[in-house]
């Protein structure tokens, strides 16, 4: 059905960005715009869910282009809605957190920070809602450009070097994406997403399909699959809220979202089977899952370890989609919001530690659990979820992924083994952090000399991470929070035509 809602959703962060610039001398008003925009946007996104659950898509065509069959416009289906809900709900919390974090650290250039942040969210929501590859590309490039000032926020030579790396990878990815989108358009005459894939692709020679798919994958380097992942750890020089929302949720999930779109909505399940591309994708994902975890173990910098953990977890989603089974895709789609909530908690905790103690290395964090009990409690909950243990949401999505893996006929158990091994590795790199934080004797200055005094981060910092941690549990107890379960079911029904 035709509704203006997608347009209003997209306008929220855009207008906020436009309002932030003139109010640069009034910090409270400036941050007020962000918060207001995020709240309005989330309620608008949520208001679309009931309609979508009726089995409809919400369409809004912005304008027709001169190219036949390409419109720039939005079409919100269940899958897009899941990503939109994840991003927009977390944006509220991260905006609040940003205020606490940026002010506590007295960061410079805050106006630029909030402005670019709004634009990045604008891009991410645009990706979630877009109706076709062409529209998606436009928003993809907006994400890339607008996150650059955030990555190099510190403006130190190190940050600039990291920013350049980030930019080179993502702009190259953009080039590949443009190439593959235009080629798809030329070969099929359309770029619209369709639940069963674009039919006209079926008549293309197989080698072209494979090359095209490779270009698409390179175009979605934002998903940080190995060996094209190194921009993500580099991007960790950004302030923590950026790492949290953008480099754990919005940007990287946009990449994964794109891959799932390609697998399920452009190529389609059948074509992926015929060409055996699913196997190639699954192997890449498995490789990334295992190797990413090993890299994570080797890191001493907390944010870098979390970044490698993100790389590994993103590939769960890719693997789930690549398996092409109902439960696999279900697990992949559920993992988008669930991983988002858990990983953002972890990053927000890492940021809170920086705010209070200024420490970034895990080895220096001995006894920090006593100093910052709430933060580290939230961290532990999220870590348990990442490992995939109940009672945290990660359990549900991993369970579905495992079920999906067993349903694959020849290599099912191989992929099951991969998932379980990776989970085991998750234990190896998360438990030591918790152990260090709670059970090791603090060395030197951490709690002051003598008595350890609890001095947790400011309320604006702790509250958001507590909320995300609580939600990680709520999602386990009540997966239909924010309609997530129903939306996933709806998406699966659309893809497989009824359960």
């Amino acid at each position: 059905m035709e509704l203006m809602t997608p347009l209003f959703i997209i306008l929220c962060p855009a207008i906020a960005a436009a309002l932030i610039l003139p109010s640069r001398n009034h910090p409270n008003i400036r941050e007020g715009w962000t918060i207001a925009a995020s709240v309005i946007m989330f309620s608008l996104v949520l208001s679309m869910a009931p309609e979508i659950l009726k089995g409809e898509t919400i369409n809004f065509t912005l304008f027709h282009t001169m190219f036949q069959n390409i419109d720039v416009g939005f079409k919100v289906d269940a899958f897009g809605e899941i990503f939109a809900i994840t991003t927009s709900s977390l944006w509220i919390l991260v905006s609040i957190y940003s205020i606490g974090y940026m002010r506590a650290l007295k960061e410079h250039a805050q106006t630029r920070y909030y402005f670019a942040f709004c634009l990045a969210i604008f891009g991410a929501l645009g990706v979630a809602l877009s109706a076709n590859l062409f529209t998606m590309f436009i928003f993809f490039e907006i994400i890339t450009i607008s996150t650059y000032p955030l990555v190099i926020h510190e403006q130190t030579p190190e940050a600039i070097r990291a920013g350049h790396k980030y930019f080179v990878y993502l702009m190259t990815a953009g080039a590949f994406l443009l190439f593959s989108i235009m080629t798809t358009y030329y070969l099929t005459g359309t770029t619209d997403f369709a639940a069963g894939g674009i039919k006209a692709l079926g008549s293309i020679p197989q080698w072209m399909l494979i090359v095209l798919f490779a270009c698409f994958l390179l175009g979605f380097m934002k998903a940080a699959w190995m060996p094209f992942h190194s921009w993500l750890p580099a991007a960790m020089v950004a302030p923590s809220p950026v790492s949290a929302l953008l480099h754990a949720v919005a940007v990287v999930k946009a990449g994964v979202f794109g891959i799932v779109r390609i697998v399920c909505y452009v190529y389609g399940v059948d074509l992926m089977h015929e060409t055996n591309l699913w196997l190639a994708l699954a192997i890449i994902a498995s490789f990334t899952m295992i190797v990413g975890s090993f890299f994570a173990i080797a890191q001493d910098d907390l944010k870098k370890r979390l970044a490698y953990s993100t790389i590994s977890q993103l590939s769960y989603i890719i693997l789930g989609a690549a398996l092409l089974t109902e439960n696999g895709i279900r697990g992949a789609m559920l993992h988008i919001p669930f991983h988002g909530y858990m990983k953002i908690t972890l990053f927000l905790c890492a940021g809170a530690i920086i705010v209070v103690t200024g420490k970034k290395k895990i080895s220096e964090m001995a006894g920090i659990g006593k100093v910052m009990p709430y933060t580290m409690l939230a961290f532990s909950i999220a870590a348990i979820g990442m490992i995939g243990l109940p009672p945290v949401a990660g359990f549900i999505s991993k369970l579905y992924l495992c079920l999906g893996a067993t349903a694959v006929s020849p290599f099912g158990y191989v992929f099951l083994a991969v998932i379980l091994t990776s989970s085991l590795l998750d234990v190896v790199y998360f438990v030591p952090i918790i152990h260090t934080a709670f059970f090791k004797k603090p060395v030197g200055e951490i709690g002051g000399s003598g008595e350890v005094k609890a001095r947790d981060a400011p309320l604006l910092v702790v509250a958001p991470l507590a909320i995300t941690a609580i939600f990680s549990i709520v999602f386990f107890l009540h997966p239909n929070m924010f309609y997530i379960r129903d939306l996933v079911n709806m998406a699966i029904t659309n893809l497989f035509g009824g359960i």
Binding site: T65, M66, I160, Y185
Partner: protein
């Protein structure tokens, strides 16, 4: 009812008349010529809008000078293509003139102001003439007027600009000679100089070697004027040392009008059938263009002087236009790319040269490495530069993205994947050199140990008359980027395709 059919001749006639009146008025008051040329061109702007409207609603305008019927008399023909070009030229001229006011006061000695503006007005008049004429020889006249004044305007900067100007005089004259030789041979074979007449007569003598040679000479001549690789070598020095106003006018419209001559040759005199009979010429042109795109960008990456970098970037962008022209042999989208890129590059490069001029005027800086912290010092020029460079790189939704997509579709239509890759690669190369500047301006921290020259006067605020044109062009980069993607320009483009006899519409 307005006599719109008379407007084309009114434009060139009045412009020429105004140029000489300005010289006289300059004796009375040195400030008058600027206002006179501004008023004149604003008037032309209104006329050009009427012309565009008339062309799109009624049809092409044909004006016979002195009532002499063509092919004996000189005919002025305005169809959708040149009406569109005319509007672009006039708009940029007006913005450029507004920008020039304070810039010229800064860069050029007071006693030269009168002649400067007279020459500018004459150059503009020449550009108008090229744009609306329908006669090969008449086009040569206007071409020379536009070029001779340009030589002088470059030399106005004095000192370092003299050598480049001399270079340009020599190269430009060679180009003009090539062109006029071609015209002579065509005249000797066909006995006519009128475009439309020539187009009718030429098919009979397509295999005549004189005609083929004439084509080659005219193309080479225009290629020198439009600095298309590999005939570009006079250009970087000129753009680096010319007055800022002239650089921005030349890079944005002067070269577009030169390129327009090529478009006319291509479609209205020789037609695509003529070009298609040379097997392999189509691919040759495309590959020359592709090499131009890459080589221009790579040279630009090597430059440290901002204006020289922009100059090489222009060479690369002219490659886009030539590629579009080559691809138009296969697909109408090639021509659409050319049409779009003429506008997109005009606004983008005009804006870039204007901000480069503002930077050197306000801060005295030319070397990109010294730009640290400029984003704070001259925010408007910085913002304009950033947006225009995004357009050059081709980030959606800026204008450059639209041209890139049009050309990519044209290459795909032609079945030439290498050009798709080259176009996309060129975007990345552009990113390298433009982003370096943006990085310096906004993100690199100034080195605190290095003591800044204390002698420097307190930074003056950028005058509004310089900031406004830049910002208008920068916002046009985004507005046009969106408009090109929508259906709005479709009627115009279809009309152009029709007038240039592509035989297809989109």
């Amino acid at each position: 009812m307005l006599p719109v059919e008379q407007f084309p001749v009114l434009i060139v006639g009045l412009s020429m008349f105004m140029a000489y009146t300005m010289l006289l008025a300059g004796y009375l008051n040195r400030k008058l010529p600027f206002f006179m040329t501004l008023a004149m061109n604003s008037f032309v702007f209104i006329l050009s809008l009427f012309i565009l409207n008339h062309v799109l609603t009624v049809g092409p305008i044909r004006y016979w000078q002195g009532g002499w019927r063509p092919p004996w008399g000189i005919e002025y023909v305005v169809d959708a293509m040149n009406a569109y070009l005319l509007v672009i030229v006039v708009s940029i001229v007006i913005l450029g003139l507004i920008y020039s006011k304070r810039n010229v006061e800064h860069e050029i000695e007071l006693q030269k102001h009168v002649t400067f503006y007279v020459l500018v007005q004459l150059m503009i008049c020449g550009l108008y003439g090229i744009t609306i004429t329908g006669d090969l020889f008449n086009m040569f006249i206007w071409l020379e007027i536009a070029s001779l004044t340009a030589y002088a305007l470059i030399a106005v900067a004095g000192a370092r600009a003299l050598r480049p100007a001399l270079n340009y005089v020599i190269m430009g004259s060679i180009g003009a000679c090539f062109y006029i030789f071609g015209v002579c041979w065509l005249y000797s074979v066909t006995g006519t100089l009128n475009f439309a007449d020539m187009r009718l007569l030429l098919p009979l003598v397509y295999d005549n070697h004189a005609v083929q040679m004439a084509f080659a000479m005219m193309v080479v001549g225009v290629m020198i004027k439009a600095y298309i690789f590999p005939l570009h070598f006079w250009q970087p020095d000129v753009y680096t040392y010319a007055p800022s106003t002239i650089s921005s006018l030349m890079a944005s419209i002067h070269v577009k009008v030169m390129f327009y001559i090529l478009i006319r040759m291509w479609f209205s005199v020789f037609t695509l059938d003529f070009i298609r009979q040379f097997v392999g010429l189509d691919m040759l042109i495309c590959w020359v263009a592709a090499i131009a795109i890459l080589v221009g960008s790579i040279w630009a990456i090597k430059q440290r002087n901002l204006r020289r970098m922009l100059a090489y970037s222009s060479i690369s962008q002219m490659g886009y236009l030539l590629l579009g022209l080559g691809l138009s042999l296969f697909s109408p989208w090639g021509l659409v790319g050319v049409v779009a890129h003429i506008l997109n590059h005009a606004i983008g490069k005009g804006c870039l040269f204007m901000s480069a001029g503002a930077i050197s005027q306000q801060e005295g800086l030319r070397d990109v490495r010294d730009f640290t912290g400029l984003g704070k010092k001259i925010p408007y020029a910085g913002a304009a530069f950033t947006i225009a460079s995004l357009s050059m790189i081709g980030i959606p939704p800026t204008a450059g993205f639209a041209s890139k997509v049009f050309l990519i579709i044209a290459s795909l239509d032609a079945g030439q994947y290498p050009f798709v890759i080259i176009l996309i690669l060129s975007g990345l190369l552009n990113l390298v050199y433009f982003w370096r500047v943006i990085d310096q301006m906004y993100f690199k921290k100034p080195e605190e140990t290095k003591d800044v020259a204390v002698t420097k006067e307190i930074t003056r605020k950028l005058p509004l008359s310089m900031a406004a044109p830049m910002l208008i062009l920068a916002s046009l980069c985004i507005i046009m980027g969106i408009i090109w993607l929508t259906e709005i320009p479709q009627p115009l483009i279809n009309q152009i395709l029709l007038n240039l006899r592509m035989g297809v519409t989109i």
